[in-house]
C-alpha cells in the first residue's frame, strides 16, 4: 500500500496546477516532479534496472531548471548543460547518482521565489535521504524519510501554486 502511495504521490503537483492554473513555470516544475512517477512506472515494468528509467532524470532536472531560467540565454545554457551532463554521466558506474547529485546542486543554486522551499526539500533534504538510503544497511527508515520529504515538498509546491494564481 505504501509503495503504491509513494509511486502515485509524484502526480500531486500536476493535480495542483490543473486545479489552480498558475503561470507556465509552475507547470514545468509540476511536470518535472511528475517525471518521478514516469521513472517509477518504467522501473516497475522493466524489473528495477536504472538503465531503462534513466531518461526521466535528465528530463526532470531539465524541466525544473528551465522553469527557473529567466532569459532565453539561460534556457539555452540549461538545455546544453543538462544534455552534456547526461552524456558525460553515462560513462560512470551509477550515472543516475551522478546526475541526481550534480542536478540537485544546480537546482538548489538556481531556486528562487515561492517554489524555493519545495525545491530545497525535494532536491536538498530528499537527495540527502536518498543517498542515506543507498548507504544504509536497513533502507526502510531512510526510505520512509525520503518519501515523507517528497510529500512535504509537494505540499510546499501546492502552497506556492495557490499563491501564484
Amino acid at each position: 500500500m505504501q509503495y503504491t502511495l509513494a509511486h502515485y504521490s509524484g502526480l500531486i503537483p500536476l493535480g495542483a496546477v490543473m486545479l489552480w492554473r498558475p503561470p507556465v513555470p509552475y507547470w514545468l516544475i509540476a511536470c518535472g516532479f511528475g517525471m518521478s512517477w514516469v521513472g517509477d512506472t518504467i522501473m516497475l515494468e522493466t524489473g528495477g534496472s536504472w538503465a531503462y528509467g534513466y531518461v526521466w532524470l535528465p528530463i526532470q532536472i531539465g524541466l525544473i531548471l528551465l522553469a527557473l531560467a529567466a532569459t532565453w540565454a539561460m534556457r539555452a545554457a540549461v538545455t546544453v548543460g543538462v544534455a552534456l551532463l547526461t552524456v558525460l554521466s553515462v560513462a560512470h558506474a551509477r550515472p543516475d547518482i551522478v546526475l541526481t547529485v550534480v542536478g540537485s546542486v544546480w537546482i538548489l543554486w538556481q531556486a528562487h521565489g515561492r517554489v524555493t522551499p519545495s525545491l530545497y526539500v525535494y532536491f536538498g533534504l530528499g537527495t540527502v535521504l536518498y543517498l542515506l538510503m543507498l548507504g544504509a544497511d536497513n533502507i526502510l527508515p531512510a526510505w520512509y524519510g525520503y518519501q515523507a520529504s517528497r510529500l512535504v515538498a509537494y505540499g510546499a509546491f501546492c502552497w506556492a501554486v495557490s499563491w501564484a494564481t
Partner: protein
C-alpha cells in the same frame, strides 16, 4: 563557575539573535574550496579508506572536487560582490553538500571523529542561512 553557567545563555543569544554571518561564510567558503581542491588533487582520497567513503564513492571523486571547489569560488565571489541573495543560496547549498559528506560517515563509521567534524560546517551553514533570513547583512 559563574562564567561557565552563563555560556548556554550566551550561545542561545548568538544562535537566536546574531546576524553577522560574514566571517562564518568566509570560513565555510574557504573550507569548501580547500576540500574541493584536495579532492581534485592527483592522489585518490576516497581510496585511502574506501569503506568509509562508500556512499560518496558512488559519484567520482573529481565531480565532488568540482562541486566543492566551484561552490567555494561562487560563494567567495558572492561575498566580494556583497550580493545577499547569492550569499543566502551559497550557505543553503553548503548545508546540502556537507550533509552528503556527513552521511557517508554516519552510515559507515558513525562514532568516528569525522561525525562532529563534518556535522559542524553543515550546522554552521544552516545557522548562517537562518540568520540571513532574519536580515543578516554584516
Amino acid at each position: 563557575m559563574g562564567y561557565v553557567s552563563r555560556i548556554p545563555r550566551f550561545l542561545w543569544r548568538v544562535f537566536r539573535h546574531e546576524q553577522r554571518t560574514f566571517g562564518v561564510e568566509v570560513y565555510l567558503a574557504l573550507q569548501a574550496l580547500v576540500f574541493g581542491a584536495w579532492l581534485l588533487a592527483p592522489w585518490d582520497t576516497f581510496q585511502q579508506v574506501p569503506d568509509i567513503y562508500s556512499t560518496l564513492g558512488l559519484v567520482p571523486e573529481w565531480i565532488w572536487g568540482c562541486l566543492f571547489f566551484g561552490h567555494g569560488v561562487l560563494h567567495l565571489a558572492a561575498l566580494e560582490m556583497g550580493s545577499m541573495r547569492l550569499r543566502h543560496r551559497g550557505t543553503s547549498v553548503l548545508v546540502f553538500l556537507w550533509m552528503i559528506v556527513l552521511i557517508s560517515f554516519l552510515t559507515t563509521a558513525p562514532l568516528s571523529s569525522a561525525t562532529p567534524m563534518y556535522a559542524f560546517p553543515a550546522l554552521a551553514g544552516l545557522w548562517a542561512s537562518i540568520a540571513q533570513t532574519r536580515g543578516g547583512r554584516a
